[in-house]
């Protein structure tokens, strides 16, 4: 048996919005801000996951806006424990399902196991528990809602905040241009665990997102999906621009959409000609203070990163070869 199996993708041949599920699993009435790209992402990811799933969610905006007792926006069985441990909680859910199924205690089909967290809960404080769960090979999918800062606590920087962005703990000033570090490459970290499926996604590209989610949750073994989630409150952008900004992130090469199946990179949304990065920076107040030279630097850095990604996509070999494990001996 190969350790994780291959991603079994079912391609939708017809791209039509009326083919998308009508069922809502992340229901209206939650308290996210107007124009919240993260809530949009959650809603569509949950639709793509379908009914038979259990969700472990980290502390953060999406938890707080959705689960104030006695109300809930979640139609899935859903468990929030703390900020940094959604992957560990999901590991427990998956392990329990396995043993309960073995013992005949589980009625119905094996539910999919899903963990979700913000970029802080994923790339910073939750990185260890995520790494542990990916390494152990649990059959689950992790979704990172990347709005590029700790929004729930008031827009503090995370390791996923991009260079130059203003946050409340990376403010620009006489001695600072704002965030002076580069965004952590979380997908590369996930890929380095040798897991069978890693992808970036965006609710501004719904079909692309939908297929990736289906693929991720159908893949046996761990899968990781990194979802760019525009946050008008934290990005200081107009609330009616969230979907547009998500598209600009892709069109400028800032947030390319790709997937990595068994270590093999592939662009899923090709951009024939990248737009200038400034098209993406300009509508966002968090980059307002940047001067020409920082914008140039961001442009150069974006191009360099994009080229690296293209090289990976063009590579004839995967990051890690899949070698089939010997069959377990049965007595």
């Amino acid at each position: 048996m190969d350790k994780f199996g291959y991603a079994q993708s079912q391609k939708f041949d017809t791209y039509a919005s009326r083919l998308m599920p009508r069922e809502e699993y992340f229901t209206s009435g939650h308290r996210s801000c107007q124009g919240c790209g993260e809530a949009l992402a959650v809603r569509w990811v949950c639709k793509a996951i379908g009914k038979d799933a259990i969700i472990a969610h980290a502390t953060g905006c999406m938890e707080i806006v959705s689960s104030g007792w006695p109300q809930t926006a979640w139609m899935h069985p859903w468990l929030h424990v703390a900020f940094e441990n959604a992957s560990a909680v999901a590991s427990g859910i998956e392990s329990a399902l396995k043993v309960l199924q073995r013992k005949g205690k589980l009625k119905g089909p094996m539910p999919k196991v899903v963990a979700m967290g913000g970029d802080g809960g994923t790339t910073d404080i939750g990185l260890q528990s995520l790494s542990g769960a990916l390494e152990r090979g649990h059959n689950f999918t992790y979704f990172c809602w990347d709005n590029e800062a700790y929004m729930n606590t008031g827009i503090q920087r995370s390791s996923s905040t991009p260079y130059g962005a203003m946050t409340t703990t990376s403010p620009p000033g006489k001695m600072s241009i704002g965030q002076h570090t580069q965004k952590k490459n979380m997908t590369a970290i996930a890929v380095a665990h040798g897991i069978p499926y890693v992808a970036t996604a965006s609710p501004s590209y719904l079909f692309d997102l939908f297929f990736k989610v289906r693929k991720a949750i159908e893949t046996p073994g761990p899968a990781y999906v990194h979802v760019l989630s525009v946050c008008p409150t934290g990005w200081r952008s107009a609330t009616d621009l969230s979907v547009r900004l998500g598209r600009l992130a892709v069109e400028t090469g800032v947030f390319p959409l790709f997937e990595v199946v068994n270590g093999k990179y592939r662009l899923t949304v090709e951009v024939p000609k990248l737009r200038p990065v400034n098209d993406y920076l300009k509508p966002q107040g968090r980059f307002r203070h940047l001067r020409e030279k920082e914008r140039d630097f961001i442009q150069k850095h974006t191009m360099a990163q994009y080229q690296l990604l293209l090289d990976k996509c063009g590579a004839s070999y995967p990051e890690f070869p899949v070698i089939t494990e010997p069959e377990e001996e049965k007595e």
Binding site: D52, S67, W74, P77, A88, G92, A96, K98, G108, S129
Partner: protein, 391 residues
């Protein structure tokens, strides 16, 4: 038929967990808990226990994984010690608030710094207020029995409370003792397969871990407090049932030679056996000394303690942890408040003993009694003594 075995106590605990048919275990190694989880993982590897054993990357993840396991409906077990328990701390409060019946063994060990792998109770005293049932055991047989009973208590639908069994690291966990093991059939009858009251199930979805606004937080905490104190009667029921089956009976506060005692020592954990030797010797020498052993730490057995003290004049509380800069070491603080409002309360004396693996002998207990008696004549000069400290 029950049979007698000679075995390291850690291994006996892993057998108890096996006989309870634990279904899901997540653990991270730390001395002196290691032997328990090592044996459990070999039982799983050899097919002697049908469970999922998850080797997590930290104790924080161990207890978090256990939450996922238990919330999905599996009988869940873990074990830890010292730094491991401290690392779990954030999550421990959430386990009990979620009312998940996880059973955990804590092989009690000192907390760093300085690093010490040896025994005292500072780890569990740092987790005093986590809202779990907490029991202390004194020897191998108790460790076995209480591990089995813990599942039955925790999983009772009226209780649904995570439960910690404390046993002293090394000086109990690593010694070989004679014990009686019940038959599997007896355990199966005593502890039927686990069926949760609520679980994560797509056909019947629930939201667990919602947050609370100020309008309800206090009420939720009150509910937690009532559930924990209400667990008391169920604990006694389970202990009685086990006693009827095995002949081994347990009380929240155990009494040793307390008849007519003017002076009472109070201990927890396996140093109680050392104190018993001292009490025997002092009784022989004509001193009216007895011993109280506090078994149930949470919920705190106020009434049992008051009854057990009877007409004794001097109660000497032996703590195995400090509350640095505080008014009193943890056990004294609770015991003294249990008596404060009582007319004719006993005088209390306080000694902190056996920190970080420092040996405590019967002779030490005798010296403690002598010193306490002497000081009881005068006005006490110190809130408490760190016994045997040099320099």
């Amino acid at each position: 038929m029950a049979h007698r075995v000679g075995m390291e106590v850690s291994i006996a605990i892993s057998h108890a967990v096996q006989m309870c048919r634990a279904e899901a275990i997540a653990a991270y190694p730390i001395t002196p808990q290691t032997h328990i989880v090592e044996h459990l993982s070999s039982m799983v590897a050899n097919g002697e226990l049908d469970a999922e054993f998850v080797n997590v990357e930290s104790e924080h993840s161990a207890i978090s994984t256990c939450i996922g396991m238990s919330a999905t409906g599996a009988r869940t077990y873990t074990a830890t010690s010292s730094q491991g328990l401290a690392l779990m701390n954030e999550i421990l409060y959430i386990v009990s608030a979620l009312r998940l019946p996880i059973v955990m063994t804590v092989a009690n060990r000192a907390l760093s710094g300085p690093l010490s792998i040896w025994n005292d109770h500072s780890d569990i005293m740092g987790a005093r207020d986590i809202g779990w049932i907490q029991i202390f055991v004194e020897n191998g047989q108790e460790a076995f029995d209480h591990s089995v009973m813990a599942f039955k208590i925790a999983e009772n639908h009226q209780v649904l409370m995570p439960t910690i069994i404390n046993l002293d690291g090394f000086i109990l966990s690593h010694v070989v003792e004679a014990m009686e093991f019940p038959d599997q059939e007896l355990v199966d009858k005593f502890l039927p397969s686990y069926h949760p009251r609520f679980q994560l199930d797509p056909d019947n979805p629930v939201t667990m871990g919602a947050f609370a606004m100020p309008e309800v937080y206090t009420e939720v905490k009150m509910g937690h407090q009532m559930a924990l104190t209400g667990a008391y009667e169920h604990i006694l029921k389970v202990w009685k049932e086990w006693g009827d089956l095995t002949g081994r009976r347990y009380q929240p506060v155990e009494k040793y030679r307390t008849e007519g005692a003017k002076i009472l020592l109070l201990t927890m954990g396996c140093l109680s056996e050392v104190a018993e030797v001292a009490v025997d010797e002092m009784r022989e020498a004509g001193l009216e000394v007895g011993l109280l052993k506090l078994r149930m730490w949470r919920p705190f057995p106020f009434a049992d303690l008051r009854n057990a003290v009877g007409s004794a004049k001097l109660l000497i509380v032996c703590d195995r942890a400090l509350s640095l800069g505080g008014a009193a070491p943890p056990v004294l603080a609770e015991v003294r408040s249990a008596f404060y409002a009582m007319r004719g309360r006993p005088q209390t004396a306080s000694f902190v003993i056996g920190l970080g693996g420092r040996d405590v002998t019967p002779g030490d207990f005798k010296n403690i009694v002598a010193q306490a008696q002497e000081e009881a004549q005068h006005k006490p000069t110190q809130e408490y003594h760190i016994f045997g400290v040099r320099g």
